[in-house]
Subunit: 249 residues, 2 copies
Amino acid sequence: MESIVTMAKAEQTGSYKGSEKLRPEEMIYHEMLDAILDRRLEPGMKLIEEDLAKTFGVSRARIRATFLQLAHDKLINLVPNRGAFVAEPTIDEAIEVFSARRMIEDGVARKVATSMTPERAEQIKAHLDREHDAHHRGDHRAAIILSGEFHLLLARLSGNLVIEEFLERLILRTSLIIAMYESPQPVDCSHTEHDQLLSALLSGDPDVAAAEMSRHLDAIRDRLQLQRPKPGKTDFASIFGRIPTSEAS
Amino acid sequence: MESIVTMAKAEQTGSYKGSEKLRPEEMIYHEMLDAILDRRLEPGMKLIEEDLAKTFGVSRARIRATFLQLAHDKLINLVPNRGAFVAEPTIDEAIEVFSARRMIEDGVARKVATSMTPERAEQIKAHLDREHDAHHRGDHRAAIILSGEFHLLLARLSGNLVIEEFLERLILRTSLIIAMYESPQPVDCSHTEHDQLLSALLSGDPDVAAAEMSRHLDAIRDRLQLQRPKPGKTDFASIFGRIPTSEAS
DNA sequence: GCTGACATGATTGTTAACAATTTTGCATGC
DNA sequence: GCATGCAAAATTGTTAACAATCATGTCAGC
């Protein structure tokens, strides 16, 4: 899996679709990923097998296999005999994802800080340039994806493939969470925070690096509107503040 | 997912098979999991769809879906047009799994140590009793599984579902690694180490707890024979100490 | 005796049709 | 007007057959 990387690469060149020769199964997975993170597929939306099969020109069997992958990454929900729905991460889930990330990425920051080399520093700086660029272009979506890839880059530099893969999944979930809960006027300051993070990493002090990472992740979380559930299309319970018992309007 | 828990429960009562009414898809997943961890399915073994389908009395489609799940947990390898094979974790993979576990479980130990209550202590002690019991019964397999469940219990007490699920996968992989690389005469002292871990957790000091956890995980790893690859059935390269070029006997 | 092409069998990949289930719409009765 | 039951449509779940691919064994040629 290197979806985020692939996506970010595509962001640079423009469109993601068909920019590389992927096997159809991977292509479909990435297309759907793309659509979910881009909110063309809204949280809660029903995903009908046959429609998707026709859209992509493949059989339902392949769609079902893709569903299993997406469900494993918790980007969709699979309900027996009911079908597949774009995931709607709850506030509790969102909080747990950030908590898990802090737990893991503290360790990542520690390792990266204590194994820093000029070469690696350059790698990180090069990535930060791309982030700044996307931000100044006003390309919000590219900024979110590159921001995720920044964290993935650090995981890679930490030198543990297992952690890297796991974090990739968490970052995808985070992107979905951000898409769901971001403020109406997105105050996207993460690129500044990434600069500060680089400084902390360059200090070589693992405690400083970990503290900065925690602060950064908390900041992302706190910029979200995690106070009340953002009502989905039919979330009457939260709209009217009570458990739905009948269909009263 | 609560496979390990389910399996451990079954261990108590005796056989795992069919001890609970699971949906057939879950049943098959658990049966295969069971067989892999129990080494009835040896690492590298080919898994033929039709044979398994007949064995379990289901269609190939369901077997294929199960394969996707197992492959996602890295318990089998899926090779296009070739089929499914029981995973053969390499030494490097094994080391990375332990490294990742240390990274995560250090944090788990910290959290559990700082949130200990008499009730939770009792929960842990009760589990340790079961471990000792299995050990004195000489039930090696139950001991391995309960040992894994001990770590999973701590993850649960740490209060993060994301971490818990991730760690469950890593523990499953660890079980496979242990099955592959354990010493001929298994010196299974982990139950003693778990006692020490409990002491460290009860101290309430997060640093002490984390240090003990690291020591424990390193100890498990160091008890394995991770120096040279354990030859599979047809690993002539390691048997004869050279690259295979022809079929010379 | 060894190499390589070829045919054969085994296995995976794919498709389409059928069965089971759920959802939707409509009519009926209160 | 509203709930209930029923029928129809839509959708998922399952199966079996077919196509494509890979592994194996055989045999001609050198």
